[in-house]
Symmetry: C2
Subunit: 365 residues, 2 copies
DNA sequence: TAAGTATAATTGTACATACAATTGAATCAG
DNA sequence: CTGATTCAATTGTATGTACAATTATACTTA
């Protein structure tokens, strides 16, 4: 019997489900005529209105087509092009830093899952992220990968909530929003900062400068790692070594910082740059001033941007698995899109130090 | 009276039309509650089943949302995303060369036109381009910006035709497909090659090497410019100076080329690299061998990739307005989407030589 | 043969009725 | 004040009936 009248599931829905299964299993093939409404009344014992309700839904869903006088037929292609297959990717700026690598990781994994990616640049601004958020929702994306902006955690959470209200899952990439239950994929920035600093200490450096932005969870964690490593080595950092700021990355800012760090009677022998692009600026300023790296000054970066780091300036840096980060973010997103909601999905990938030629060993200082 | 019972148009449809008009004219605003089914029975005199049919259709069409016990409400956005507002962007690899800059130019201009961009990486392979083409068509994009692949013109044209068959306009960016009527935005590569070569000649260089790939229209044109400049200066290039190949860019290949060019008893005093990334490879190989740039060897590139060129290795190169190229491509695409088909739309942007510190003046050789 | 016409099958429209399920809000109990 | 319970409004499900509209097919007529 097709219909169970004692079941709590509506009878029209039982019929609808049964019909859909027949179609999907090929019992009713494309172009086939299904039983007439009157016949289905005979078969199921339901009223014709109920039959019509079931069929009407399937017509709306694209499974069936009604033809007056002729009957109801299985639609040729089960073309449900409204089936959502686009995700949004909100990144700071596709031109800079690790973003291209991240975007490519996401895109490759997305293509494997038959998803397309809409790319949006936030320039680390809340307002742009909010703008793109509206557009992505309008475009009916089925999921979002979001690199939080330079705005407050609260603001970034607003963005996430806008998607969540529409039942659009979100995965954060690289940066996280602390003390919330938003899923993310990031790397072990604290360990990375710790390792890089320890590396410099092992090379005999004790006066180690650092400069980065406090706006981003990643850089803050690297800074924490730096402090811990110094503390564990019994070194108390002087305030002059540390140049934090609460703005986004600009070349101009770090040029100023570099001049200060490199001029102040050169108290420091090494600099930990918050990320590679900062290191580049320091590098170029040092070049202009005539400070030679690594002979006169040691420097380490963070990211390992290709090909500049590896081929041109030979920077010792912390390699982040950015491409993998993109891929893993997407995998988690897909599992959420598919309704797998078993607890939080968070991932912290391992970075590894790449030793090149920007750090010199100091003689026992 | 809302319903005309003598009209041949079904009464549920009259009600449906009336409700839709109220919504579209803002009488019922988003989030508003419309009259309950019972109230509509009173208002219209129709049976509740008929009311439900009208409402049910509007729910299916996205205008209304039913909430049990609460009533029926106007959907937040009357947008069913059938209005196509997504374009596709087919680029070689978002990670490399000028691609990020191009993508950003497209994206910014697209956002201004309320369009979203789906990004696809072809890796310069026809097969990947074809794969993404199918997906973009499925995603119902309303236009495409396409950087032709390393495949033959014929193959690239196949890609374009696939879109054109679906009435999806295409604009080529950077590279062109010669002898066809596909619109494009590119730069004056011939002039650029001519200028760069002339620049080297003016600096006293006569034995000028060149290496690039012949797969791409841009690089071929630069090569033509190079030959013309040499010819105009009365210089006949020797075969040993010229290292063309018909494969895509790989570091490995150009490392080999560099070794050859830099070893062969150093016949040449300057190298014209087909683009900046090639210049980087030559740079790094030269560094390893101990050849100093520009003292021992002059080198020019093409693209002016930021920030490496400008800050780190100080490469004299041809600056291409890549960002603008992205923007202009999109503008043309938009005009085509809007049905403006007044003739061909082609644009050749001007490049300009950026003189830095990778070329030395030779004493009268 | 060609054009018009009747027929019957099937979906389309319309109405009246009844009870179920859900849930915001009011009420009550502790 | 908090938590449980009840109430009532509204949509959801289901049935039975009736007639309309459409149209492939067969039949009729000029």
């Amino acid at each position: 019997m097709i219909i169970d009248r004692n079941s709590p599931v509506p009878q029209y829905f039982q019929l609808q489900t049964w019909l859909r299964e027949q179609i999907e299993q090929g019992v009713f093939k494309p172009e086939d005529k299904i039983p007439t409404e009157e016949e289905l009344v005979q078969i199921t014992g339901l009223a014709r209105a109920t039959i019509r309700q079931a069929i009407g839904n399937l017509v709306n869903m694209g499974y069936l087509t009604r033809k007056r006088r002729l009957g109801t037929f299985v639609t040729r292609r089960t073309n449900l092009s409204n089936h959502r297959n686009i995700i949004g990717v909100l990144v700071p700026d596709i031109r800079s830093g690790y973003t291209p690598e991240l975007a490519r990781g996401v895109e490759d994994a997305a293509a494997n899952n038959k998803l397309s990616t809409i790319l949006c640049n936030t320039d680390d601004l809340f307002i742009k992220a909010a703008f793109h958020t509206e557009r992505l929702i309008e475009s009916n994306v089925c999921g979002v990968i979001f690199v939080p902006t330079a705005a407050s955690d609260e603001k970034n959470l607003q963005i996430v909530d806008k998607f969540h209200k529409r039942d659009i899952p979100v995965v954060l990439a690289d940066r996280v929003i602390p003390d919330t239950d938003v899923d993310y994929v990031t790397t072990d920035n604290f360990n990375g900062g710790y390792q890089l600093t320890s590396y410099l200490i092992n090379k005999g450096h004790r006066k180690i400068g650092i400069t980065l932005s406090t706006l981003f969870s990643t850089e803050r964690q690297r800074y924490e790692g730096y402090r811990q490593a110094l503390a564990d080595a019994g070194i108390t950092p002087e305030s002059g070594w540390i140049k934090l700021h609460d703005g986004p990355f600009t070349e101009k800012h770090y040029q100023e910082v570099s001049k200060t760090l490199l001029s102040e009677d050169r108290k420091i022998s090494a600099i930990f740059a918050g990320h590679d692009r900062i290191a580049y600026v320091i590098y170029s300023v040092a070049q202009k001033i005539g400070i030679k790296i690594p002979v006169d000054l040691s420097i380490v970066g963070y990211d390992d941007l290709h090909p500049t780091c590896s081929h041109l300036i030979s920077l010792t840096t912390m390699h982040q698995p950015i491409y993998e980060m993109g891929q893993e973010s997407l995998k988690i997103l897909v599992s959420k899109i598919n309704g797998d909601s078993r607890g939080l999905k968070r991932l912290e990938l391992k970075s590894n130090l790449v030793e090149r030629n920007s750090v010199v060993r100091l003689k026992n200082s």
